[in-house]
Symmetry: C2
Subunit: 127 residues, 2 copies
Amino acid sequence: MSWLDEVPWNGEGLIAAVAQDAKSGRVLTVAWMNRDALKETAERKQAVYWSRSRKKLWRKGEESGHVQRLVEIRLDCDADAVLLRVEQVGGIACHTGRESCFFRRLDNGRWVTIDPVLKDPAVTYKK
Amino acid sequence: MSWLDEVPWNGEGLIAAVAQDAKSGRVLTVAWMNRDALKETAERKQAVYWSRSRKKLWRKGEESGHVQRLVEIRLDCDADAVLLRVEQVGGIACHTGRESCFFRRLDNGRWVTIDPVLKDPAVTYKK
């Protein structure tokens, strides 16, 4: 029995995946994985997700260069989420050019952007 | 417009919620919230989730005493997940008596339990 068979994939064949910077501890992203994405993540030692909007594998960093190098994969108690501890290349996980996708905080009933843009996405994603 | 209206609840009216220990940085749990859960979390300053199996609000710690006191709530860029930074009362988030639900690590193609049980759940959940 493969370790992949122990993951109770949901009705869409997916599991939630949280990426955390292994050094800073920041939670960087929450995304989804199907079986192929999780398998490839473990094999390549780089985060690969399943894009639900584009319906294809999303090799994180393939355009931006901001790959997430795998440190370890963890599974939670009821096995409905995996945690990737990663080294975030470039120190930028978010397509907005910020360290983390969680750059908005609830302050007095409003979502307030509190983290700076470290690199202009127009530069990162220029063709 | 309420901050709750800015959350793009999924087809089931839910959003993924990641809880992180604000002090240690450990990712503790991944669970789900509906609108009522997120509203109550913000108001009570304690984590409240939606239990998909029991189909009711799950006030984390109501049985175990292991409540998660809210430090801050963050929202990610595409708003499909919230991050709760919390103070984990008792230092135990998992129903197995461990600090974090992510106590299994992938090692050479096997999920290996690597974190200790800090408190016997039979003691925590005794009636």
